[in-house]
Symmetry: C2
């Protein structure tokens, strides 16, 4: 049990705050209890009980049947844990050579246990980085986070050029697929061809043209260079 902003928090509470934060970012307005349950792999009944507790802790406001929203404190908690998570991912990858498809699971546990002192030492050692290995922005010490204005890779048309900036960190298979092909955030690309109906996308990264399946393309975020 740690304490953040005067609120005693367990790993479970922190995970709920993170989940609500992420879901709220995906689609605004209050988050449904069921969505939280599904994301965390618990039953709706469990999620309902925990959401009620977050409300009592002052981390969220829950209006029955209407969904849940984080308070300022709740957002801060989520960002604090997100900062831990992403710093750890980058640290494990850079300093210990953990492959990028495995850093997530390690960080998922360590994030709840990292002290403020170690957080600070790690951030300093890494040079206060702005993004983790998957391109996700790392909240600052002051818990500010840079919202990005990226597009989904599969929304581009042939001829489109840009930079691959970000990918969901939670699917190791996708990450391994990209790693095997030497594709990682920061890579420049050009769309060569696009099959309709969620079909694959053919994109050039460096010298080679790679086939990116529809599902994968939907999870890759890119910035286009006009």
């Amino acid at each position: 049990m740690s304490v953040h902003s005067g609120v005693p928090t367990s790993s479970a509470v922190e995970d709920y705050a993170k989940a609500i934060y992420a879901l709220a970012a995906e689609s605004d307005g209050p988050v449904s209890t069921n969505a939280v349950a599904e994301r965390l792999g618990v039953t709706p009944a469990s999620a309902s009980a925990m959401v009620k507790r977050l409300d009592e802790l002052g981390l969220a406001r829950h209006v029955p049947y209407r969904g849940v929203e984080l308070t300022a404190r709740g957002s801060q908690l989520a960002l604090e844990v997100l900062r831990h998570h992403r710093l750890l991912e980058l640290y494990l990858a850079e300093s210990l050579g953990v492959p990028w498809d495995r850093v997530h699971d390690e960080a998922e546990v360590l994030e709840h246990v990292l002290s403020e002192e170690l957080e600070e030492l790690i951030a300093t050692k890494l040079g206060n980085p702005k993004r983790d290995p998957h391109g996700d922005p790392i909240p600052t010490r002051e818990l500010e986070i840079e919202e990005d204005h990226t597009l989904s890779f599969d929304s581009l048309e042939p001829g489109g050029r840009g930079t691959f900036v970000r990918i969901s960190d939670s699917d190791p298979q996708m990450l391994r697929y990209l790693a095997d092909r030497g594709i990682s955030p920061g890579a420049a690309f050009e769309i060569v061809e696009k099959q309709p109906f969620g079909g694959p996308l053919f994109a050039r990264f460096g010298d080679e043209v790679h086939v990116i399946g529809g599902t994968l393309a939907a999870r890759m975020r890119v910035e286009v260079s006009t």
Copy 2:
């Protein structure tokens, strides 16, 4: 909840195994429930219940009113966690620059959460070290540990020479005191003078003669050079 040697273990179970292991090393024969309780800062009733559970898990044998002893499995668990603890302490000190009086508390939490994969990466990065920053031996990958044949510093007489090799890691104040004077495991010394009745010891480390209080001297372990 992790799994070691087929036994599901929580942080609490691991801490109890460590405590029993340490107490058994200090004085042989079965370990009393009260000693365990005191070491872990819980009530005797709590310790009694947990010791019973360790027995059911096959990690210890507990004879009511007679004390508890670890089984082979229980010792392995304790050594596994000790390996984690000491590798982490050294890693935090070497790679992140955490002062040696603070590594213990961090390691105390992280030891339960470190994956085998990270353990291995850390051990490799450190060059499979044999001792942690306090001079405590690190169990090998195969969980063998080197028993040392050290003497208590306060058992020496004036004129005695040797090497300071080890000190309890759990008292930050003592560690800071030594660190402030540049005394750490590996340092050669010569006893200059010794006051009776638990009084201080005057010992030369390098050029300087330092005053070592009776309590501190009792916790320092040394090897004498005939």
